[in-house]
Amino acid sequence: MTDTPVKIVVDLSKPKGERESIIPLTDEEIAERDAQAVIAEAERVEQEAIEAQKAADAQAGRDALVALGLTEAQINALLGA
Amino acid sequence: MGYQLIEEITVGAGGAASIEFTGIPQDGVDLVLKLAMRTNRAANTDSVKIQINNNTGSIYTHLRLQGNGSSVLTGSYTGTESYVIVNGNNDTANTFGNADFLISNYTSSNDKSATSDAVNENNATLAYQDLKAHLFADTNPVSSVQLAPSGGTLFLQYSTASLYMITAD
């Protein structure tokens, strides 16, 4: 049997020593947590894909400049690399 | 109460080969070491070697993320001391590298987790910013901290090392 996940709530409006409560998560809270993790991962994957495409485009651009006869040093100077 | 200075050391004329804080009070939560240091190493940058509890074993691990004005670097280390970057004696005159080193839960009976942010101050393109994640495999409470230059032999005059304790009350 899986233990129900719990949260701790520290209510600072209460006197010291009486502030902590340990409360089981509701089904809604569990679902929300899981959904947020899925969304965050999807956004990370999307960013990764954008960066990979940028890198590929940059390399293709560089290759095109080489094909036009520019030297590596000229390309680096042009691109500020 | 809160963020408490335990002791501050300012290096005098003639320099100091090492600095040690001993008898650290054991009623705090975290320890913070703030450094402003320059060594006699004839180079841009040096490092401060840090050990705890006179532990010279290979218990010090860190991961670093570093920028040097031209590129960004990352690496890892395990060895007999840990390090933070400070100034060497070829850095811009009258400048000192700054480091902030926090040891979390320093009185616990677990291994010690620490974080450091350090900069090497230099009026040139080449200057280092150095972030580190540290782990000291020493389950004893931290009762002493040992500091020494890594590449040089002396901390130079006006270098300072300040040890703070963050307390619960």
């Binding site: 233990d3 996940p5 719990v6 949260k7 701790i8 709530v9 520290v10 209510d11 600072l12 409006s13 209460k14 010291k16 502030r19 902590e20 340990i22 998560l25 809270e29 929300e32 947590r33 947020q36 993790a37 969304i39 965050a40 956004e43 990370r44 960013q47 960066e51 | 109460m1 809160g2 963020y3 939560v29 975290d30 691990t61 860190h62 991961l63 670093r64 993320l65 570093q66 960004v72 670097l73 990352t74 690496g75 890892s76 926090l102 979390s104 839960n105 677990n110 291994d111 987790s113 620490a114 974080t115 942010d117 972030l131 580190k132 994640a133 540290h134 782990l135 963050i166 307390t167 619960a168």
Partner: protein, 167 residues
């Protein structure tokens, strides 16, 4: 005796694995100007997982720039309008190695600005990272929730400090 200006407000040491840790009813009456949260511990994940923070009851408006190193690769990424503010791009917590995370929330009680957050998160076997964050909300922060991909393990500690801006 000098007036203390960096004060422990409260702390928690987890006695059991805990999905999230909430501090609420944080004073917003000007007693403190900035908050500092120090989180040290491990996470009950299969391998590694993310830690994150949310303010008040909000699941929107979290913008970050991450800068990470893992010992062999560096990465920097920016995200806007996230549902939470993750501590880093890469996974910050593991079940085996202590992580120390320091979260600074600047001018947390002001109602005339978005909230700036500086995060350093560290795990000596896999991550050193710095994050600059902005919660795009002018509400005073009276509550925060530390959560992540899995529960924080027993023994994890959270310390909440307030920094006063006046003596």
């Amino acid at each position: 005796m000098a007036t203390p200006t960096y004060t422990l407000i409260d702390s928690v040491t987890l006695a059991t694995n805990t999905a999230n840790v909430t501090f609420e009813s944080i004073p917003t009456d000007g007693t403190y100007g900035d908050l500092v949260i120090v989180l040290t511990g491990t996470m009950a994940v299969g391998s590694v997982g993310h830690g994150d923070i949310k303010f008040n009851y909000s699941t929107t408006g979290y913008n970050v720039v991450h800068m990470d190193g893992d010992g062999s690769t560096t990465i920097s990424r920016a995200y806007s309008n996230q549902m939470q503010m993750r501590f880093s791009e890469n996974n910050s917590f593991s079940t085996t190695t202590l992580n120390t995370t320091i979260i600074q929330v600047l001018d947390y009680a002001e109602t005339n600005k978005h909230k700036s957050v500086l995060i350093r998160t560290n795990r000596a076997d896999g991550l050193v990272a710095a994050t600059a964050g902005r919660w795009a909300d002018t509400s005073a922060i009276n509550r925060f929730i530390l959560a992540g991909d899995a529960a924080y393990e027993a023994g994890t500690t959270v310390y909440l400090y307030g920094i006063a801006k006046a003596l």
